[in-house]
């Protein structure tokens, strides 16, 4: 019975994973990934780890994937075209992956054949109480450091979201009405109170009067 469930969920996981890799539209890929997460959560349940299963759904499928979908929508990502460069990477990837799987299989065989591997999982360590007990006693330090890590992530995300200084030449002002302090864009205008209302870089350049200015391009870098 459990085997049947395993096969079901495993098949779903693999199917969604393959689908995610094969999809050209990243949005469909995101949705496939959600499918993977759900099936993995079910597998966790079969492994008597309900807490992890719940956390998986809440964090991965509920938070991370939402974020990813937000970003996809925001950036208006289009479908991926056929690759023109590095076409040789596809067969190389397949080969490397095959080698990786072979090595993994090699190890898994020995793991299975080892006499100290238990054959039945009747575990009671997946309950929330045991996880909580471990988390706040033995593994307290990692817990605290993880919280600092999250803090760093928040700060980093905020920093990255800011824009400052003259707009780089190929930057696109995110659609929507932008109100920018004048001296953020133009260091000459220190005491000018009038802000700039712009919708795109071209508009900013027109307002600043630097339309024909040479742009730094990738090749110069």
């Amino acid at each position: 019975m459990v085997a049947l469930l395993f096969i079901l969920f495993a098949g779903m996981a693999i199917g969604c994973a393959v689908s995610m890799v094969a999809q050209r539209n990243p949005l469909y890929g995101a949705i496939s990934l959600i499918g993977v997460f759900i099936s993995l959560a079910c597998l966790y349940v079969t492994l008597a780890a309900p807490f992890i299963a719940a956390v998986q759904v809440i964090v991965y499928a509920g938070a991370i994937m939402v974020l990813v979908v937000f970003v996809i929508m925001l950036l208006n990502v289009e479908e991926e075209e056929r690759p023109t460069r590095l076409r040789s990477l596809v067969p190389i990837a397949v080969v490397l992956a095959a080698v990786l799987f072979a090595e993994a299989a090699f190890i898994i065989y020995f793991v299975q054949a080892s006499p100290s591997t238990p054959t039945r999982n009747i575990s009671d360590v997946g309950l929330t109480s045991s996880i909580g007990a471990g988390l706040f006693t033995t593994y307290l330090l990692p817990f605290e450091i993880t919280s600092i890590l999250l803090l760093m992530a928040v700060v980093g995300a905020m920093t990255l979201a800011r824009t400052g200084g003259l707009l780089p030449p190929r930057a696109v002002v995110v659609p929507g009405h932008q109100v920018l302090a004048r001296d953020v864009l133009d260091p000459r205008a220190v005491n000018e109170p009038e802000p700039i209302h712009a919708r795109s870089t071209a508009e900013v350049e027109k307002i600043l009067g630097i339309e024909g200015a040479p742009h730094v391009t990738d090749e110069d870098l």
């Binding site: 090595e103 090699f106 190890i107 020995f110 080892s114």
Partner: protein, 719 residues
Amino acid sequence: MGTNNLLSLIIFAPLAGAVINWLVGRRLRNERFIGVVACASVGISTLIAFYLAFKPDGALRATQPLMDHLWTWIQVGTFRADFGLAMDRLSGIYALFITFVGLLIHIFATGYMHGDRGYYRFFAYLNLFMFAMLTLVLADNFLLMFVGWEGVGLCSYLLIGFYLDKEEAAPAAKKAFIANRVGDWGFVLGLMLIFFMTGSISFFEKKALGVTSALTAIGNLPIDGFGWHAIFAGGVTSIAVLLFIGATGKSAQIPLFVWLPDAMAGPTPVSALIHAATMVTAGVYMVVRCSAIYTHAPTAMFIVAIVGAATALFAATIGIAQNDIKKVLAYSTISQLGYMFLACGMGAFVAAILHVMTHAFFKAQLFLGSGSVIHGMHHEQDMRRMGGLRKYMPITWLTMCAGWLAICGVPIFAGFFSKDEILWKTWSGQIAGAPPALGKALWFIGAVTALLTAIYMTRLMVMTFWGNERFREKTIEDSHGHGSHGAHTPHESPWTMTIPLIVLAVLSTIGGLVGVPYALSSLTGGHPENYFERTLEPAVNSVPGEETNAGQGTAELHWLTPPPQEVDGKPAFAPAKRSEAEAVHGPAEISQERLFTLISIMVAITGIGIGWVMFQKQPLRQMPRLLEHKYYVDEIYDAAVIQPILVISREGLWKLFDIGVIDGLIHSLGRTVVNLGRTIRHMQLGFVRGYAAIILAGALIIIGYFAYSGAHVLRFLVK
């Protein structure tokens, strides 16, 4: 055998003249200075040579050669080659006529080359040539002779190509040098084989220095058998054949004669000196010097005789169809050289040397005379545009008549005695192991050649000096494309040119009288000595069967002629003993010899008559085209030898090997490095996916290592 320092002066005087002319004459550019230096240096050599030859214990009188050891050149292990000179009878005779004829030609050239921009260069080369030639004949070992041998080849190249603006001069010079070189291959191999067999390469024994004579050593060996096997056996016959190959190159015999006609592109004094009198006779000198080797190798003598006779006939047939005056004389030279080798082959070495000497006289005379004609005709060489010149150039005409009669073999002129002797010795000669009729057959070829010689020489004289003055006509077909020089009147040459002509004409007339054979001299009842034969006989080996002792007759004198009677004046020698060979000159032999002399005279006069009749009325008679185109020999050589070599070199050695293999190796090395770089470059293109792939690959390697090494541990855990 005393050391004689004067001997070295003979060869170093012309060398000094060459150096002075090259360095100083070039600056001064004064023709008188250059001419005087050149002629004086050769004059010094001439005087010394005559002195050393004719003094009471000089080279022509003494039993041992005059030697001069200058320094030890090479001494490695048992191999020893000295820079040493030796004048014995053979080289004495050679030195005499080389220096004298050379001097005359130098004087002639001062007049002939007047006005040429390369005057100093010409005389520098000419003196250098004299140095090399005298080294060749005065050397006392094979290696030094080879130095002179190569030196004359070099000077021949320099002098043939002297006219820098003449298009055909440079290829002709190259051809001469290369043909000589092919022969030199044989010479060097023979030289090495001599050293291998005898441990020495010296001609003479120098007890004081511990040098043995190679020729004596070979002379003590048994005589080789007759047959093909002897040639490849590595014995005396191989040596003889190899040396002869060198002689065919230097002395223009079949198959290496092709350079001599082309060599006429050089100035006429060069043709006279090098290609008539001296260089081409070096081959004959070598063969006669090595007479000890040849008399022990009958197969080689057979080959020499056959090649000589064939060449004589071959060249004579071509000579009657040539229209350039110098080309006729060139083929005549080849033909006469064939006679000399024929004589050597039949064992008549003395007769060969006599013919060398007389040929030097009359051929130099003929060449210089033709040079005078060319000079007077303002450098016109085609006989079809000459004619009737005897009115305008009387001295040239008269002197050339002397040369003409000499070469045809008319009695008392020089060529008669030598040629007649050769023909007689051919008829009566034997080669051990060869068919007995060989001599008769070769005599016949020689007689036909003599006929042809007379015909073509008469043709030359008639076309040039008699008949209508064709140089006035403008209608003669011209292969050069420009009009004839009919407007110029030919003039006689200046005294610098006519004096040598006169001297040589006198020599051509009386020069043969030193070699009158006994059969004829006994007719007159006068001095029945063959001076020449007596002088030279001890220096050369005789054909086996005619004498009992082998080896060089340095200790005893052998007489083939009866001992001289005291008719008028004491003879120069005291007779030592009679040899059994005296029987050769019994009465039957003598009358046969006289008969053949008569036949020779008849042949000569018949030839002159035929030539006169054929060409006096019709000087422009067309000769067979095959002969005019010299049997297409050059074309055949080009197609059969030169083109294949060129193709192999260009396609095979150059394109295939040099560019393909050697350059290809280097290039492929470079290309490999470039390709390696190009491949490795892909590792860092900036593409993130590429980097990811490389990271993954590295990780797999590490995982693989751990998995493999960990498996040992895990294996023990498996049930």
